[in-house]
């Protein structure tokens, strides 16, 4: 089973984690100003790259904290994990 390194607890088995989809999707600054197209983009449209992807995980059966990870969607290899208050590591670039 794949091990995922929780930034707080260290490497744990994948079954302890819950997937949260694309990371760094900010809530709109001024929701009332959004057009229907903007809302559609915010609610339904997410990146779906074949390659490195910045995404959220929650250590649901452990410390229950959310964190971010860069994972290659082709190999499922985790390239980086980082806390929510840390910036996205520069070396991976894409998301």
């Amino acid at each position: 089973m794949q091990l995922i390194s929780c930034p707080w607890c260290g490497p744990r088995e994948e079954v302890e984690f819950h997937y949260g989809g694309q990371a760094h999707v900010a809530y709109p600054d001024d929701p009332a100003a959004l057009s229907d197209e903007d809302w559609a983009r915010f609610v339904f449209f997410r990146d779906n790259p074949s390659g490195p992807f910045a995404e959220r995980w929650s250590h649901a059966a452990g410390c229950r904290r959310w964190f971010n990870a860069i994972r290659d969607t082709r190999s499922h290899e985790l390239l980086d994990v980082y806390r929510m208050d840390e910036a996205q590591p520069a070396r991976t670039g894409t998301s």
Partner: protein, 415 residues
């Protein structure tokens, strides 16, 4: 190529012989009226109906690998049309009607077998939702009935209907006209018929770019050179986001691994198709004798055509609870396909903001059953530059207008 190839034993049925010569293997020409990207079931069926119904034969189907080697080779071959909403009933029932005549249409055996499908209900809410869906189906002229636990056992005696399990079987919806088909033969039948009408089926030809000029598509760039095209139709399932991005188009789909497995060959024990949303498994027995079981999707995005083992473990646990006699069957093989899941569990089929570029994606876990219906409707969309009535509701714009077709209930664990 002659059309008189129909035999009792279809070519390839006596494996390991592979039918190598059902279609030619041409090099790409400089230009085509229509280029279809993706040589799976949907791409091949679209090419077939473009040629057959609309007389458009200057068509190429490009595939980055070999024909029907992606999800068309990986699905669990379940065919049914018992979806909840009118929009879905339209396209899935259209498809089922085409399935019923497809062997004759293609003049090729596809082992289409209407053995019926049971969708089990395990809780009071399941029962209510199922009965509602049966009623909705009947209003749409689709065969559907509600059967209680005894009825389930009568239709499929090996299902454990004991109340003494974690998720007891309280009943099921039953669609007698549903069934399975041999997925490879379906692809080969379409490929052979399309090639005979002049369609170029080009393998090992990966699309690396889509050329547009002034908002209109001009062609595609491939690993085998540039191919000009009047129209480009995308049929790439799990890779749709990657392809659409080449034309600057963003899609509301997420690609996930979807796993399935087979047992070794067994005597016939399973007379129908059983699906259970609550315990996450769907099972049938293929003609050769292997039990074919599908799981739910892996939660994370993935393009790797493999998933996590704990999903298989959970799927096997679910299967054993429903079918205790499977306990001594051996697992032979597991695999995954990449499915493009849309927010409302319904497909996205139609025009795009780019003239001449047509989109067919978002079928998620259930595209196989739609193969003939989608092919017919998508060919119409491409030929007429206007959606067919059955794919008209499934626009990309619905995510902006809010006119979603929420089929999570009927699609559920998988289609």
């Amino acid at each position: 190529m002659t059309t008189d190839r129909r035999t009792a034993v279809p070519p390839g049925a006596d494996l390991p012989d592979h039918p190598s010569f059902l279609w030619p293997n041409p090099d790409p020409a400089k230009s085509y009226d229509v280029v279809i990207v993706g040589g799976g079931g949907h791409g091949l069926a679209t090419a077939y109906y473009l040629a057959k119904v609309h007389g458009i034969t200057n068509v190429a189907v490009l595939d980055k690998g070999w024909l029907a080697g992606g999800n068309m080779a990986r699905n669990t071959t379940i065919i049914r049309s018992n979806y909840l909403w009118d929009e879905s009933s339209g396209i899935y029932e259209h498809s089922l009607k085409l399935w019923e005549n497809l062997e004759a249409e293609l003049d090729y055996p596809i082992l289409f077998d209407q053995r019926g499908v049971l969708n089990l209900a395990h809780s009071l809410q399941d029962v209510r939702d199922s009965v509602r869906r049966v009623n909705a189906n009947r209003l749409n002229g689709i065969d559907a009935e509600w059967v209680d636990a005894d009825g389930v056992q009568e239709l499929c005696p090996i299902v454990n209907v004991s109340p003494d399990v974690r998720y007891p079987v309280l009943g099921a919806t039953y669609q007698p006209r549903a069934g399975i088909a041999k997925h490879d033969y379906v692809a080969w039948g379409y490929a052979r018929a399309a090639a005979a009408m002049g369609v170029d089926l080009i393998q090992n030809c990966e699309v690396t770019g889509i050329d547009t000029v002034g908002g209109r598509v001009r062609g595609v760039r491939t690993t085998r050179g540039r191919v000009a095209a009047g129209k480009v139709a995308l049929c790439a399932a799990g890779h749709s986001s990657v392809l659409a991005a080449m034309a600057g188009l963003r899609l509301p789909v997420q690609s996930h691994p979807l796993q399935a497995l087979v047992s070794e060959l067994l005597e016939p024990v399973h007379p129908t198709v059983v699906m259970s949303n609550a315990v996450h498994v769907y099972v049938s027995q293929a003609h050769k004798g292997e039990l074919v079981m599908g799981a739910g999707i892996d939660s994370y995005n993935g393009y790797g055509q493999r998933g996590s083992f704990h999903i298989i473990e959970r799927q096997m646990a679910a299967a054993l609870e429903l079918f205790p006699i499977f306990a001594r069957a051996h697992l032979l093989r597991t695999w995954a396909g990449i499915v493009d899941v849309s927010p409302d569990a319904s497909p996205i089929v139609g025009l795009t903001p780019i003239d001449g570029l047509y989109l067919n994606c978002g079928w998620g876990t259930g595209g196989f059953k739609a193969t003939p219906g989608l092919g017919d409707c998508f060919a119409h969309t491409v030929a007429k530059d206007k959606p067919h009535q059955f794919n008209e509701p499934f626009t990309l714009e619905r995510f902006t207008t809010g006119a979603l077709v929420d089929e999570h209930g009927a699609a559920a664990v998988a289609h």
